[in-house]
């Protein structure tokens, strides 16, 4: 288990550094509207790219994944909390897996 342990330590390091380096290095305020707008849009762009299309491969079956996605979109559109959306999608995938 030594090699997996070292791998996990390296993973922790390359996860930690991107999180703290900019925080420590940039201490002045940036005035550019372009850069500030860019930064405001980054999280939405990242999460969009992380979710689609990978969500359709997440359950081992396209049909159940599509149904889970629709349920998640619907619950999120109704502004339900993180937990409700996540658990709702899991239940939708599970139930549709039983039926299909």
């Amino acid at each position: 288990m030594l090699k997996p342990f070292i791998a996990v330590l390296l993973m922790a390091l390359v996860t930690y550094l991107p999180r703290v380096l900019p925080l420590v290095l940039f201490r002045k305020e940036i005035k550019s509207t372009f850069i500030m707008s860019f930064l405001k849009y980054v999280p939405y762009a990242v999460l969009g790219a992380l979710t689609f299309p990978d969500i359709f491969d997440s359950t081992g079956d396209y049909m159940t994944a599509i149904i889970g996605t629709i349920v998640a979109l619907f619950l999120a559109f109704r502004e339900k909390s993180l937990v409700i959306v996540a658990v709702g999608a899991i239940i939708a995938v599970y139930v549709s897996g039983l039926v299909i």
Binding site: F5, A7, V8, L9, L10, M11, L13, V14, T15, Y16, P18, R19, V20, L21, P22, L23, V24, F26, R27, E29, I30, K31, S32, T33, F34, M36, S37, F38, L39, K40, Y41, V42, P43, Y44, A45, L47, G48, A49, T51, P53, I55, S58, T59, G60, D61, T69, A72, L73, E79, S81, L82, V83, V85, A86, G88, A89, I90, I91, V93, G97
Partner: protein, 244 residues
Amino acid sequence: MINQKQFTYGFRKGLPIAFGYIPVSFTFGLMATGGGLPLWLAIFTSLSNLTSAGQFAGTELILAGAGLLEITLTTFIINIRYMLMSFSLSQKIESKITVKQRLLFGFGITDETFTIASLEQGKLTYAFMLGLITGPIAGWTLGTAMGALISESLPLSISNAMGIALYAMFIAIIVPPSKKSRPILIIVLLSVLITIGLKYIPVFSFISGGFRIIIATVLSACVGAAIFPVKEESKDNEEEVKTC
């Protein structure tokens, strides 16, 4: 020492994230021990990495017997997005927060804690940030422990269904703002389109998953910033800087 009220306020803001993390980290625990990692290492991975996409991908590579360089590089590329978030937060936190404090709360920056922090009005305090990350760290670690412990007794149909949890959580974060803001909706759709294009157009097939995310993010956020600049509380004359 630290402002108790700010800490509690941050902690409350972090609680929904903590609960949202449980099904996702539960899935991680299942996957890690199901694949052969010992319980302690699965838990240690969540505690030390505290990330979704990067740690899932890294652990899958470990289980597949990949080399250390490939594991580290892939994880790093998936995590480059944190630099953008950390940079953005560097503009939003109180400037008096010390380097040591930055090194501490920076550990807890995730897609979700970042989003919640960015949505706060005004400057963020150190106590708020510490409070915000506490629940999610606990939720992520506990969920992993539960998933890892239960792994063997859980039917495949359930663990398959839990695979969607991570993505459902992302959907819960991006849909409400996309509903209210046309620019955000367009940027999300553009980012998804670019990702799909890079994934399925054969010419781009040499681009790995981590790089796809980076290209899609930077391109669509740049286009968004150029077309829909956000003017907020800046009294100075705006200097447009086109860097992309």
